[in-house]
Symmetry: C2
Subunit: 326 residues, 2 copies
């Protein structure tokens, strides 16, 4: 099987950050990369490093010498153009699309991975706590985002897991707002969605703040979102399908009359990617397993008025789950 997904190659070979391909065969596993990463490739335990400026020629050489006739590939992690090059370069070999194998392994975290994710979550919470006092009228969304990002780095993050979202007032009605020059005003609602990267692992956290008085409508929306999140967290345990958790929060929000304002899925796995398998969405029937780490983030967005979202990360345990972002 040929592994071409960047994070998948890093996960299997233990060499995050290098650009290359992993070729897994019955007779041995190869890490094919270019001279920029020759030193890193030497340290990939269990992999034979192949340093080349022509990965296709190297693959041809290996597959010929091992008499490989059938080769799996990752249909979601290779471009249409890349696939055609592969097909042409490996003439005579049957290429078989095999989806999500490494993603499935990655979904269940090892103790070491959980420790990194917990650390990333802790850095994020600490940074938010430190910077919270700057949430006052006159400071802009961009300013607060910069302070948050500096705090993340200061507290030990290697970087952001994703670009920090700071939205205020009506901008909070955009679930994925980019920080603007808008300055906070009295009675604004403020939404912060932030995550740290620690040793390659991500965290993801959303909190809303009310700067003064709260409109009755948004207060109600906040209460419903919080209750929906609690319902989800209580229902998460091994064996339950991811889609079921999404469904029960969606039903709850719908029963309160806000269904059409909950415009995204309930959550997603978090690990080397900030969005990874499985997803809390109606389409993902994956049964939850002990060791999975996911976000639970219901939201209600009222166009022109504002939005609320509460997002925490949970770790699926033997009998239920624990919240990593209290």
């Amino acid at each position: 099987m040929l592994i071409s997904g960047h994070k998948n190659v890093g996960y299997l070979t233990g060499t995050l950050g290098i650009e290359g391909l992993a070729l897994i065969t019955r007779s041995g596993s190869f890490l094919i990369t270019d001279p920029r990463f020759s030193q890193e490739a030497q340290s990939a335990a269990g992999f034979i490093p192949e340093i080349t400026k022509s990965p296709l020629a190297t693959m041809r050489k290996i597959t010929r010498s091992l008499k490989i006739r059938r080769l799996g590939f990752e249909p979601n992690n290779i471009s249409y153009a890349g696939f055609n090059k592969l097909k042409k370069g490996l003439k005579g070999i049957t290429l078989i699309p095999v989806s999500g194998r490494v993603e499935k392994l990655r979904a269940v975290k090892t103790d070491k991975e959980i420790a990194c994710i917990k650390r990333a979550a802790k850095i994020t919470l600490k940074s938010l706590t430190q910077v919270k006092r700057f949430i006052r009228p006159g400071i802009s969304e961009k300013d607060l985002a910069a302070r948050l990002d500096m705090a993340l780095r200061h507290n030990g993050a290697e970087g952001n897991a994703f670009p920090t979202i700071v939205a205020s007032g009506p901008n909070t009605a955009k679930p994925h707002a980019r920080p603007t020059a808008r300055k906070f005003r009295l009675n604004d609602i403020i939404m912060i969605d932030i995550g740290a990267n620690y040793m390659g692992y991500s965290s993801d956290l959303t909190r809303v703040f009310f700067l003064g008085r709260i409109s009755a409508n948004l207060k109600r929306a906040y209460k419903i979102v919080k209750e929906a999140q609690e319902k989800a967290i209580r229902a998460i345990r091994p064996g339950v399908r991811a889609s079921k958790i999404d469904g029960l929060t969606r039903n709850y929000i719908e029963s309160k009359g806000f269904g059409k304002y909950f415009t995204h899925s309930l959550g997603h796995g978090v690990g080397l990617d900030v969005h990874e398998s499985p997803r809390f969405s109606g389409k993902d029937k994956t049964p939850l397993l002990k060791g999975m780490v996911l976000t639970v983030e219901p939201g209600i967005y009222l166009p022109g008025e504002g939005g609320v979202r509460v997002e925490d990360m949970v770790l699926v345990t033997k009998r239920g789950c624990v919240v990593l972002t209290r």
Copy 2:
């Protein structure tokens, strides 16, 4: 034509950060996105927003009503799996791979884009100048990288253009090193490769520092790299092929006996992506055009000993080029 590349969609529609597809037809252009981005989609000048949870169904509806029979797509910006879904969902339409059209537009920068890139470069230089004084024995690669990233953010960057490289001693022999806990020592060579993101645009800069005495070998390598860079910069002007610039520096470094230690291409375009078209590489025959912004970054890496790279960004002008990172 269907545009699926994330940055390409952002470039054409002027809505950076949103996830969606641009469908360009003779009868109008559509921005197809999901409800998370419904508000941003309204602001895409010249595009009809299509908010949907099923982009494929929406595309089917549009292409049918416009009687579209042939549709271009971006073979490098769609996965093999994505292409197959498209083929199935748009039965009866001939899909035609069309490479690099938007990338070609993006290669030549507008004045507004150049202003953003210049600002990103300025932020980067300022941050490096401020943090330089911490380059002394005892500070770790990771510590210095954190200080640099905080300075970028403090000086107005929206974030890093890419993860900052700080390498010291033998680690500098890895062109793409990740910062480690290694502490700087007297007589170390230090390599810093850093870039800012400003309004979505990237900068990219590499400098090396010598912390004390310099080995004769590395001093010689540095001199050759610097001379090779100067040769390239003098040769850059509209009409010259990108490959030619790569070739002449490569020949020069080879003539000095270090050819096999220059393990990467000479440079790359910089814009919305930190690596974009064109490339200063033997394979890219693109003739340079006024308004292109590229890096010029020859390097020599001696395994076990250390490496040197000097990287600047240039803007191709009417008769030559200007260095943006003096």
